[in-house]
Amino acid sequence: MIIIKNLSKSYGKNQVLNNINLDIKKGNVYGIVGENGAGKTTLFRCLAGLESFEGKIASHLNPLKNHLGLLLTEPFFFSKITGKEYIQLLANSRQITLTNIEERNIFDLPLNQYASTYSTGMKKKLALTAILLQDNAVFILDEPFNGVDIQSNLMITEIIKKLKNLDKTIIISSHIFSTLADTCDEIFLMKDGEIIKKVKQIDFDNLESEMKAFTIGNRIDKLELK
């Protein structure tokens, strides 16, 4: 269980997160939705311990970061490191010895090629594979479906379901509502650094239509398209 209490974060005068309170239960999948710049990634960075913050993040896993698999929106890769070496690097960092990397390459990635030559989707799949092989208890997946082909999208959805069955905790941010509706137990709606709504699975349908009305409204008319 992860408890986030009164979490706030600002960069100078710019308040990015404002008084976030969340209870993240073990074995559940949580979705975070919100516009670009709403504070999703900053919240993830605070959870991962990559940012200082005001407030408190408590967890039964101590320290949380050592049990956390973090998939960044744009994973970083060194220019001359192969896919296999990248997986090895992340495993080594958690003292895990991997012997059968090729067999566990479920996305059929060209593991002996330099990761920097991969396409955006392949990079994401490689980074995801690497954190999955780290034996983490908690996963933070920042836009895991971005730039990934439809087959892999289905695969990632199934992986999330499998992780849930294994009692792992997952927090996902995504702009693709259907994928969140498929996998999440609860969705948090963020706006301007605040959680403005917490929605349980049963109300997901309402959330989608509410979000459409809320985010789109009559904005498109302002373009005066002819």
Partner: protein
């Protein structure tokens, strides 16, 4: 095109300021250090001119990054692209050219510029998906990445050792070893993305120990052929050789600690100055190493705690 060079000049100044170097000091210090380095190189090694040219070409070829050039090709027509790249390469080669002229190596200076320009005709954008094998694959990433970028230096270094033995020049042999140390130092000169530090589930102390152990082990492996050959062929100079070998180890440790002492930012000017002082006065290492170590532990604790 003028706008492009103006922009490049602005970017250069911004980089200097970001490095913590006020422009006035930067424009004084950089040429001064360059002259000192060039003079030092010419005074300690044989075959100094070809080696100096190789260093210059290596510097110029930094502009040949395929992505960068693809971008330039996409915004300029062919003639302007070639003009622009030629001028860029000539500007990059200029300090080396001036020094060669000062050394009255006029022909070499002309040759260097011609080679500098001809580099633009080569397309470094190879689509061959070839992965350079590395003996350091088990422990990514510094030596894996670094070895692939600089693998050609090692045969050169071993060849220099061979020459040093055949002509009986011990200094050249030591230079070959220092060359490997410099290459290994370059692997640790840039700070990695914080994600790769964050991922470790060890204490800051263990993290630094592991990094240092890997670096020193691999450096020793790369140096071993030189060390053994020089020990056999220059028996009377073994003590000097060992001093240099240990100094290389000390500087590698210093750089690793210096790198993480400003984590997650790049090393700053004050750290650079401290390292420079320690190069001129090695006993300073006894102060600098513990200082950088304690600063590194502090900085690494922010993400590894």
């Amino acid at each position: 095109m003028r706008a492009y060079f103006r922009l490049q000049f602005k970017m250069f100044n911004r980089n200097m300021i970001a490095f913590g170097l006020p422009l006035l000091i930067g424009y004084t210090l950089i040429p001064l250090l360059f002259v000192l380095f060039s003079n030092y190189l010419f005074s300690i090694i044989e075959f100094e001119t070809p080696i100096y040219c190789l260093i210059a070409l290596g510097f110029v070829s930094k502009l040949s990054d395929p992505k960068r050039n693809d971008f330039l090709k996409s915004i300029y027509n062919k003639t302007n692209y070639l003009k622009l790249r030629s001028i860029e390469n000539l500007i990059y080669a200029l300090p080396f050219t001036l020094f060669l002229i000062y050394k009255t190596q006029f022909l070499t200076a002309i040759l260097l510029n011609l080679l500098g320009i001809s580099i633009i005709l080569f397309n470094f954008n190879t689509h061959i998906n070839m992965t350079i094998p590395t003996p350091f694959g088990k422990k990514p990433f510094e030596f894996v990445v670094g070895f692939r970028k600089t693998f050609f230096i090692f045969p050169i270094s071993y060849f220099l050792t061979y020459i040093s033995i055949t002509v009986g020049n011990f200094n050249l042999g030591v230079f070959a070893m220092i060359l490997i140390a410099l290459i290994c130092l370059s692997y640790y000169s840039k700070i990695e993305h914080e994600y790769f530090v964050w991922n470790f589930n060890v204490s800051a102390k263990d993290f630094l120990f592991e990094k240092t152990k890997t670096c020193l082990t691999y450096f020793t492996i790369l140096c071993l052929p030189i060390l053994i050959a020089l020990c056999i062929c220059f028996v009377h100079e073994i003590s000097i050789l060992l001093v240099f070998f240990l100094l290389c180890h000390a500087y590698l440790i210093t750089l690793i600690f210096a790198k993480y002492s400003s984590f997650p930012k790049e090393m700053n000017i004050s750290q650079g100055i401290l390292i420079a002082i320690s190069i001129m006065f090695p006993p300073m290492l006894f102060v600098i190493i513990p200082l950088f170590y304690s600063q590194s532990i502090k900085k690494l604790n922010t993400v590894l705690k």
